[in-house]
């Protein structure tokens, strides 16, 4: 059976399994959820090993007719880009389950519903990256909103209902614009060789469009992805949603769901509309640079630890978008790697921040202080995650951030230079909470906070291991990413700028 379909079916079957466990056996439900997500992770890793990184075509392809009268297929397949993101998703899910062992309790509904939602979401996370049929992608893209909406609205904290609605409306707005563009593409494909939603065939369609049509269709896709990613000024849903959701939800939201935006930019915007991409590149690079600096400043000014992390992500997504539209192999590979690394470093930050908040009963930075002496392991975990977020060399984010910067510099030096100022701001937005929360005298009320228990250590250890290991040895990922990045750029007709001083000589 096809590996991708198997991976998508497993969580669904798992959710059915959980559905038959009585609601009062909470522990059994959690164990089942963990077992299923671990199984999926193992499948994901096996898929990884079976992947032929030299081949730039889609692999593990499966295509089944779904709605033949419209030319819609259930079609899946992965290349280097989507494989990396799927791997990230399936690795993060069990960690989220384990780290947020108790966060399903005290919600509006039972723990059972929580894990069913998580598992359904996992299926969709795999599907959204694996889909090679634009319609299938769209369906999953929109359907993903449903479990996330309930996860935030039902299990979050604070003003969770409002945050969930805002998230839903923003995403729907983008999704509908994308739907219009998809229908446009479908109509054009009908006039040029038969109706289809197959991405490979649709990527030929730009030859038959006027530039206006192409620009409009491009914008439909791009705005949807820019909301997802999120890019300034379409970002205001993120801090609320991330701060209100449970830590686990926020990890999946920031770590995986938002990546659909940047993934979509590469997979759809660039591939389907190469000319429009070129037209809009200056605008997008500008927005990306604004996001980098703007997100960083807002993170510096944030008083809530979860909102702070959300704002740092806006800055990081700026880097990713900039790298994508720099149209160099370094920028592209860097951005793809960045997506993976950001998933893990943000996961670590959010998970630890969640533990801090649940222990203290508050996520205000000012309520912490001196944690390094009270809860050393937790403080260290937060510190390492923070160091990864500020792209300390030797940790994974550095490799990707530097690749993005170098890749951008060769084509857009000004943008890269401004973006580089973001690394100084990054030092501030990480070290300020580190100082306030971890250093200094112990704030009254925090003296007896418990340090991480075994379960929590087991949950955070693999994340830390990935962050550190990939910092020193990113080759396993880069080897998979590079051919795909090179291939995408080659199809686009871009070549890397030559070293300017040796070119003439």
């Amino acid at each position: 059976m096809n590996a991708l379909t198997t991976m998508m079916l497993l969580p669904i079957l798992g959710s059915l399994l959980i559905a038959v466990i009585p609601s009062d056996q909470v522990l059994r439900i959690k164990q089942a959820a963990l077992a299923v997500t671990l199984l999926v992770a193992v499948t994901g890793v096996l898929t990884w090993f079976n992947f032929d990184s030299a081949d730039t075509a889609f692999q593990f392809v499966q295509s089944v007719e779904w709605i033949p009268s419209f030319g819609i297929n259930y079609a899946v397949g992965v290349d280097g880009l989507s494989l990396v993101l799927i791997l990230m998703s399936v690795l993060l899910t069990p960690i989220v389950v384990l780290a947020g062992w108790n966060e399903s309790e005290g919600g509006r509904w039972s723990a059972k519903v929580f894990y069913i939602l998580i598992l359904v979401l996992e299926t969709m996370m795999i599907g959204v990256f694996a889909a090679t049929d634009v319609f299938l992608f769209y369906v999953i893209f929109e359907a993903m909103l449903i479990p996330v909406y309930f996860l935030i609205g039902g299990y979050g904290s604070g003003d969770r209902a409002a945050a969930a609605v805002k998230f839903l409306l923003y995403s729907l707005f983008g999704g509908l614009l994308m739907l219009a563009s998809i229908i446009g593409l479908y109509v054009i494909s009908g006039a040029n060789g038969g109706h289809t939603f197959d991405i490979a065939k649709l990527s030929e369609m730009h030859n038959y469009m006027s530039s206006t049509t192409q620009n409009l269709l491009f914008l439909g896709f791009f705005i949807a992805f820019a909301i997802k990613a999120p890019l300034w000024p379409l970002h205001t849903w993120l801090p609320g949603a991330a701060a209100s959701g449970t830590p686990g939800t926020s990890v999946l939201l920031l770590g995986v769901l938002d990546k659909v935006g940047t993934f979509g930019m590469i997979r759809f915007c660039l591939t389907l509309f190469p000319d429009a991409s070129r037209t809009f590149t200056p605008v997008i690079i500008t927005l990306a640079v604004i996001s980098i600096i703007y997100g960083a400043f807002l993170a510096i000014g944030a008083t809530d630890i979860k909102r702070l992390i959300a704002y740092t992500s806006i800055s990081h997504f700026g880097f990713i978008t900039m790298g994508i539209f720099a149209m160099t192999t370094q920028g592209h590979s860097g951005s793809t790697l960045y997506m993976f690394n950001h998933g893990f470093s943000t996961a670590a930050l959010f998970i630890v921040a969640g533990w801090m908040a649940s222990r203290r009963g508050s996520s205000k930075i000012a309520d912490f202080g001196g944690l390094q002496r009270v809860t050393p392991v937790m403080a260290w975990s937060f510190f390492i995650a923070g160091m990864s977020s500020l792209a300390l060399p030797g940790l994974s984010s550095f490799v990707s951030e530097f690749l993005v910067l170098v890749g951008t510099f060769t084509r857009y030096p000004v943008a890269a230079v401004i973006a580089t100022f973001g690394i100084v701001l990054a030092a501030l937005y990480i070290l300020i909470p580190v100082q306030k929360a971890l250093h200094g005298p112990t704030t009254p009320g925090n003296e007896n906070l418990p340090d991480l228990n075994i379960r929590e250590k087991v949950a955070i250890a693999p994340v830390m291991a990935v962050i550190i290991a990939l910092g020193f040895y990113p080759a396993p990922l880069l080897n998979v990413i590079n051919p795909t990045s090179a291939h995408i750029l080659e199809v686009q007709g871009f070549t890397d700028p030559l070293p300017s001083d040796s070119a003439g000589k």
Partner: protein, 629 residues
């Protein structure tokens, strides 16, 4: 050259130490410091072994690189995790591991009462590993890893006692200011890759021969910014004084002997760039000259012994930077001063630590006095370091500083005279503030606070001080005998041609010694032979007041960068809420308002609905009819 041992072990040993100590937790409290010291010492042993291997070979064959694995490879951007051992890096390897090991030994005793001693040693080992990576990396990117690695270690160690908010702030300040420098290094690497297509030292060196001057000037200036950040050079110097918040061994190792000299390493390592970029080179000289005076001026007014030494470090690195900016004639001399400085300044910092150890962590020199009687070993070792730093022959600092002054004078033209005078003036200041430190601490009458019982430190503390003192006495002679160090480094820096000699060697020496005598005499008159207040006097000249405030460096940074930055942050936070999100909320409110208005048409009466439907249908039919007609 092939070698049986991998250079990787040099770094791996201390790195393993820090990881083991951090992961083992409290279980390692008993043996952690011993393991860390042993690993640092074995790294030193490996360094000596490498040196012995190198000595067997011809000078041109001594340098070699070792590829460990391919680190980042995307398109044409290929960076290996590669190590380069040559005559320059071996100097640093031995300095780092040698002084590092001594300071490990010292810290065993110095930190013995701290409940987190294990963590301290873990950080020290982490620092050693990162610093070795910095000097052994074979490309700018590898150097960058070590560069930020030492920044991290420095951050952790400055903030070692971060339960005090001021210390936590100091560590943050150091990290952020270093990051500004790091940004310069990023830019340099980006420019190098975009213009030259490579980031390895060897590659850039080769490409620089055909590169345009503009490119090299750009890279050079960016490297200078990086060096200024790491080496506390003007205008990124403000963090060093605050960095004294760290435990004293840290100040000795990181903020005197090794890490802060990394900037000098970077500039000398990039000699091929600066040689071909006169503008950048000139800037290096200017930065060095400004810092050397700047630091020395601050040093004259500090009452905190560690801050006085820190200001001195800043000034001495200014000397090195200046020398490194003088081109081929200066590189080797900069390194020489760096090495001698590593010995005497580390020794003096350890001495200061020993004094603090005996004086209940009192750092105010106005509360010292007459300690020479109670701490003879500290007094002697500190005194030897003192003689070395002010440049009394035949101590180490004399040789190296003398050469810098001479090279500065011989730089030619007005520039030479100007630089030479500045270095001489710096020498006067150095003699003054160091004599002041010496007198206030050891020889002037006692001004202790009550309940002080000064005593000599235990052997584990004074032994390293003695070793370093021996170094401060002998190294200058050893390095200059037959120009040993200059010749040793020649394969890296290239031979420099004969330079115009403005002043003969002997005249320069005489001038330098005169400068020392002037400076030392003023200090003696002011502090040894006249009463010293136990409280810092308030009625002082404006210059002293400025120097006490570090020549307003913090006020400047705060008013130009920090406050506007804070205001901007506040504005952006408000703007994001009110303008950006406000727009979104406005859309939402508009929709709600429109709904509220339209709801009035919904009366709830089924019959009025049906009437409306009927009318609507009729209108529709009428419409169609009109159109089709």
């Amino acid at each position: 050259m092939t070698t049986s041992t991998s250079l990787g072990y040099l770094i791996a040993l201390p790195l393993a130490g820090s990881i083991i100590l951090l992961l083992a937790g409290r279980k390692a409290d008993k043996w952690g410091h011993l393991l860390a010291t042993a690993l640092s010492a074995s790294s030193f042993g490996l360094g000596l072994y490498q040196l012995s291997q190198m000595l067997r070979l011809e000078p041109e064959e001594r340098a070699f690189t070792q590829k460990l694995f391919s680190w980042i490879s995307v398109g044409t951007f290929n960076v290996d995790a590669g190590l380069l051992l040559d005559q320059l890096s071996i100097c640093f390897v031995l300095l780092i591991t040698g002084v590092g090991t001594l300071i490990h030994i010292y810290s065993i005793s110095y930190m013995s009462h701290d409940r987190d001693r294990r963590r301290f040693f873990a950080y020290l080992n982490l620092f050693i590993a990162a610093m070795l990576l910095l000097v052994l990396g074979d490309s700018y990117l590898n150097l960058y890893v070590g560069w930020e690695g030492v920044g991290l270690a420095s951050y952790l160690l400055i903030g070692f006692w971060n339960q005090k908010p001021a210390y936590a702030t100091a560590s943050k300040k150091a990290f952020v200011m270093n990051r500004i420098g790091d940004m310069g290094l990023s830019f340099a690497i980006m420019i190098a890759f975009a213009t030259l297509g490579t980031v390895t030292f060897a590659g850039v060196k080769e490409a620089s021969e055909s590169a345009s001057t503009a490119t090299l000037t750009g890279i050079g200036i960016m490297l200078l910014i990086a060096a200024a950040g790491k080496s506390a050079q003007f205008p990124l110097q403000a963090w060093l004084g605050d960095a004294m918040a760290g435990p004293t061994p840290v100040s000795a190792l990181i903020h005197a002997a090794t890490m802060v000299t990394a900037g000098v390493y970077l500039i000398t390592r990039s000699n091929f760039i600066f040689d071909a970029a006169p503008t950048a080179q000139l800037l290096v000289v200017i930065v060095g000259a400004v810092t050397l005076i700047f630091g020395a001026l601050i040093g004259t007014a500090k009452d905190d012994i560690k801050k006085a030494l820190a200001a001195s470090t800043m000034s001495q690195i200014g000397y090195m930077t200046l020398a490194a900016g003088l081109g081929p004639a200066g590189y080797a001399i900069a390194i020489m001063h760096l090495l001698t400085h590593g010995f005497f300044k580390a020794g003096m910092f350890l001495g200061a630590g020993s004094v603090m150890h005996g004086m209940k962590d009192q750092v105010n020199m106005r509360r010292y006095g007459a300690l020479g009687k109670f701490m003879p070993i500290t007094f002697v070792t500190f005194g030897l370091g003192y003689l070395a730093i002010i440049g009394v022959p035949p101590f180490a600092g004399f040789y190296s500083k003398d050469l810098i002054i001479e090279t500065a004078f011989n730089a030619g033209g007005v520039k030479g005279i100007l630089l030479g005078s500045m270095t001489l003036f710096g020498a006067i200041l150095t003699a003054f503030y160091m004599t002041r430190v010496m007198v206030l601490t050891f020889t002037s009458p006692e001004r202790w606070e009550e309940d002080q019982h000064p005593h000599e430190s235990p052997i584990l503390m004074w032994l390293p001080m003695v070793v370093l003192a021996i170094g401060s006495v002998t190294t200058g002679y050893l390095f200059t005998r037959g120009d040993a160090l200059v010749h040793w480094l020649e394969p890296v820096f290239g031979e420099h041609g004969e330079h115009t000699e403005l002043l003969p060697h002997k005249v320069v020496s005489a001038l330098a010694i005169t400068a020392v005598i002037i400076g030392a005499s003023i200090a003696l008159v002011k502090y040894q032979f006249s009463e010293v207040d136990a409280e810092a006097p308030n009625k002082v000249s404006i210059l002293t007041r400025l120097a006490r405030k570090d020549l307003l460096q913090d006020s400047f940074n705060e008013s130009v960068f920090m406050r506007p930055g804070q205001v901007l942050t506040r504005w952006l936070v408000k703007g994001d809420d009110n303008v950006v999100d406000g727009t979104v909320r406005l859309v939402g409110r508009t929709a709600l308002g429109a709904g509220a208005e339209l709801r009035r048409t919904q009366t709830g009466f089924a019959r009025s609905y049906s009437a409306l439907i009927l009318i609507g249908a009729l209108v529709l039919i009428a419409g169609i009819w009109v159109i089709t007609q």
